[in-house]
Subunit: 247 residues, 2 copies
Amino acid sequence: MDTTAPAEPDGTASSLGRSGESARNRVTRALREKLIIGRIQPGRGMTLRGLAAELGVSPMPVREAIQGLAAERALDLSPSGRICVPRLDQRRIGEILDARALLEPRAAELAAPHIDRDCARQLARIDDDIDRSLLDGDVERYLRLNHDFHFTIYRRSQSDVFLPLIETLWLRFGPFMRMIYGRVGTTGLVDHHKRAIAAAERGQARELSEAIRLDIHEGMQLIAEALKDQDAAGAGGPLPVRRRRAV
Amino acid sequence: MDTTAPAEPDGTASSLGRSGESARNRVTRALREKLIIGRIQPGRGMTLRGLAAELGVSPMPVREAIQGLAAERALDLSPSGRICVPRLDQRRIGEILDARALLEPRAAELAAPHIDRDCARQLARIDDDIDRSLLDGDVERYLRLNHDFHFTIYRRSQSDVFLPLIETLWLRFGPFMRMIYGRVGTTGLVDHHKRAIAAAERGQARELSEAIRLDIHEGMQLIAEALKDQDAAGAGGPLPVRRRRAV
DNA sequence: TGACCGCAAATGTGATCACAAAATGGCCAG
DNA sequence: CTGGCCATTTTGTGATCACATTTGCGGTCA
């Protein structure tokens, strides 16, 4: 991904690119990106006007974007209308991984026939970058690349049924990604990636599917361990709206 | 479901109940209902102001509701912003059923332990109504009851992961439901329901799961046949906005 | 007769406003 | 110092407005 987000240190990004696109889509993309790479903490509250100011638009496109994310359950609208990132308990996290383990191998299987040599090489390149990111301890980069790796495969399925379903799951899980990062280290998780790449190169659908399944199941174990310690993930206080400093 | 929609003959319903709830939610529910029971044709266009007038609200809550549905891909926003019900080709319909066959049996399996005697009796009652609806040839009632049957089970899974995913799939598939209705007749499709009920009564998770799987697969075959004749389902003209008669 | 062009109506988008409900923070009583 | 109460501020909701774009129709010309 060459058009990386502006990524100001504190997360504020006022000039989100592509002026030709609707403000709503830009806001949506900005929020999705933040959620996917876990830049927003579970339970974190946000406000229409706050986001609008932060992104340099009026509250209107934000409202629409929020509704979209809320429909995917990537955001939670309290009965009083307050917006926040959902807190998932251990059971729901398990269910997300369960659903992922059902959908993603199938998507990979559908994708396999459409993965050409270029795509396989791209996967290898991403995976190399992943290794580098792990060595450097660059969490965000790792999370972003891991997402890229998986969706570079799934996108090849050309399925606008499986792809959105899987995206929704990643979106909901994103805020908890950082929780497991500490567990990753240089364990065998990348080996599944290597195995997936090998299968992709040879167009072996079932083998690719199986590699993906194992990758997810390994993630499930890591999560389970992480949750054993820190139960009720992010179950702290209300974790309200992060106030913005006056300009 | 006792609070059935007003259901004026031509589909217009101005006073959608529950004044205590936000207009947005009422609009969303009205549209979801219409989509689920296939009251809106694939390819049908709609307008913000049109829906607003039809539902007796300002365009504002409609805008938000539309964004939510669009995020679920239950509605399609053309690049120029036009709103319409997506047209799904044969392949996408197959993928939806494929995804359903992966998710719904699992949801049923999760639900099984929580299905008590009351629930099982409710299922039997719904299935009886389904039989009656089929005999009467009441399409809408059949579609609504079939939806109720499945979700009476899935809801017991208490999974706000699987449930929304499955709902999205039904929502996208809803507009094509009528297409297959003609094929249903009094074939063995209900037998899977009966089998599911028997499993539900005894709390047999795997058996319930299998019955659901078979039910979906039988639906898949019916769809496949229906599509063999009428390919590119609803591939006619632009099928624009249905104009409302002046009041 | 048919294609092309141009105008008028309609549509989505974004912004702003008013309002009721809710949350926040400070104040006072115990 | 603590707990509850009240006023202020904040927040989402719904409505309305202005505008650029697009759509659709009707007329014109070949």
